[in-house]
């Protein structure tokens, strides 16, 4: 009935196509009205989300690594310090590394004050990122629940909740009954690990990981920053311990400042620049189930049994667990960790036992000695590094970009980044997040 020639709908469709609805010139704003306009023009009006460039001879700043952290750094350099002579070079396709492989969890209920600083800044920036980038990253503040399943873990979480309160992070301890209320499908009675309580962060949640990378890329391209894909760094040019440029598969590019933001591949770049990092690259795996109707409305993390879970907007359960124990760049992990995580979550959420695993994949995460990141200058003058995010990088993208941009511009780490320098290991000033939960009395 709708496709016939003569009815009212078709006339309206023809009028719209004649351009009755005005077209605007600047970067097409994404909005319902622009969708409406384009709908009648077979969507031919949309431009490229980010421009494709061949590398120029020289830039003021080169960011090596086109993932969330790299693009965010470039964006905040342009937004906060309006430097736009920047190139973001990516060896594969932007957002193809860990940004495209994580379980999209956003939270800032950390224990150490310096960690809270950067993760809370990120969560705060995530709140308005869709509007700022004019790109719907689907930030969903649906709440993050960290279960306590032993007395020892309950005490550790209470300590974290106090640390959060002082440092302005909105979290609270909830009783087992409140946990059951928030997540009806949970089994709080064990018997092996009964839930004794949980740390609840209502404004934590999830976001669409690809959209974060594409949103930042689009705005960077709008600022005039060159995003160059399929361009791998194969050499670093130095003159008397000062960086002068990088050798890539698309030729030599000169720059005054370079920043490595390459997560799992940071050690390889550092090696090219002549120094080593305190990180080990291991495979971290995740899996999704087949899509089902909504069954869980928040993120649940169970550290005692090593498993965490949330449901994507498409309806798939997104499940993640522990990292592998051995160095691995193959983006394939061992089935052992998938099994351990799924076993824990089937025990904690018995109804998901009959759902089917649709797909599993692995990313390469860079683990530091104290499981905290590195945002720091390096032995090479003018060369900065942002890595070491391990299993928790996605939640820190905006804050890490902000802090790294500040460091590159001022050539010294600001308040957010200074605790995370490389020399902290030399001085024994570890920021240890994993310790609180590790030791059982």
């Amino acid at each position: 009935m709708f496709y016939g020639k003569s009815n009212l709908w078709y006339i309206f469709f023809e009028l719209a196509k004649q351009g009755l609805i005005r077209e605007n010139k600047i970067l097409k704003r994404y909005s319902f009205s622009s969708i409406f306009t384009e709908a009648f023009r077979d969507n031919l009006g949309w431009e490229k989300a980010w421009a494709k460039h061949q590398p120029k001879k020289e830039y003021q700043i080169i960011i090596v690594g086109g993932g969330g952290h790299g693009l965010a750094t470039a964006y905040y350099l342009a937004k906060n310090y309006n430097i736009t002579d920047i190139a973001v070079i990516e060896k594969g396709w932007i957002g193809g590394g860990n940004t495209g492989r994580n379980t999209t969890i956003i939270r800032s209920n950390y224990l150490q004050e310096s960690s809270i600083g950067i993760y809370e800044k990120s969560r705060f920036l995530y709140e308005t990122l869709s509007q700022e980038l004019n790109y719907n990253i689907m930030f969903s503040p649906r709440g993050v629940l960290m279960l306590c399943q032993t007395e020892h873990e309950l005490r550790a979480m209470k300590r974290t909740s106090h640390a959060n309160k002082i440092n302005g992070v909105d979290t609270k301890m909830v009783t087992p009954d409140e946990v059951k209320e928030i997540v009806p499908i949970i089994n709080i009675d064990g018997p092996r690990f009964p839930v004794l309580g949980a740390l609840w962060q209502p404004r934590g949640g999830t976001a669409r990981h690809d959209a974060v990378a594409w949103g930042y890329a689009r705005k960077c391209s709008d600022y005039g920053i060159d995003i160059i894909e399929q361009c791998e760094v194969i050499g670093v040019k130095k003159k008397r311990e000062k960086i002068v440029g990088v050798e890539t598969t698309k030729g030599h590019i000169k720059a005054k400042k370079v920043c490595f933001v390459a997560a799992g591949h940071s050690s390889i770049l550092a090696d090219l620049a002549g120094f080593r990092l305190p990180i080990e690259s291991v495979a971290l795996q995740a899996l999704v189930s087949e899509p089902i109707k909504p069954i869980i409305d928040c993120v649940v993390m169970a550290n005692t049994v090593h498993g965490y879970l949330s449901q994507s907007d498409k309806g798939e359960l997104v499940i993640g667990g522990g990292a592998d124990g051995y160095n691995n760049y193959s983006q394939r992990g061992s089935f052992l960790h998938i099994e351990e995580t799924v076993r824990a979550l089937v025990e904690t959420f018995p109804v998901i036992s009959r759902l089917r695993q649709l797909r599993q994949w692995g990313g390469i995460v860079d683990m530091t000695g104290d499981r905290s990141p590195i945002i720091s200058k390096t032995p090479v003058d003018g060369l900065f590094i942002n890595c070491g995010w391990g299993t928790g990088g996605f939640k820190a993208i905006p804050g890490s970009g902000w802090a790294t941009a500040e460091m590159i511009h001022n050539e010294n780490p600001g308040k957010l980044a200074s605790p995370f320098s490389i020399d902290r290991f030399l001085e024994g000033r570890l920021i240890d997040e994993s310790a609180a939960a590790a030791v059982a009395h």
């Binding site: 050690s267 080593r276 990092l277 690259s281 051995y326 160095n327 193959s330 052992l336 000695g369 290991f425």
Partner: protein, 108 residues
């Protein structure tokens, strides 16, 4: 899932029986060393994308440590050797060169 040869038990062991001990042949720095060397011993790692030498323990079996040479891209294993070795033995290095011509040898 890796399947590594335990030199003591003389059989291949499923990865679930083993636990990895990280980079091999680190030199322990005691109190006489300077802070930089101590930092290198405790935290700095090669983390190579390619051939690495690492330590494994047969936790569920004989409980013995051993070393293996493995490629971190393809997980190809070039052999296991005893935990007492201070550096990879000749036979292992030869085995690596047989299939990886560009192998630059072991670096401390």
């Amino acid at each position: 899932m890796l399947y590594l040869f335990c030199p003591t038990c003389q059989r291949d062991c499923d990865e679930t029986e083993l636990s990895c001990g990280g980079q091999a042949h680190l030199i322990r720095r005691d109190h006489a060393s300077n802070d930089k060397d101590f930092y290198k011993y405790l935290y700095e790692r090669k983390n190579d994308k390619g051939i690495i030498f690492e330590r494994w323990r047969h936790v569920y079996g004989c409980g013995k440590w051993f070393h293996t040479a493995r490629c971190t891209i393809t997980n190809q294993v070039f052999g296991s050797y005893s935990a007492k070795e201070v550096q990879p033995p000749k036979s292992i290095l030869a085995n690596i060169r047989r299939s990886r011509v560009d192998f630059k040898g072991w670096v401390k």
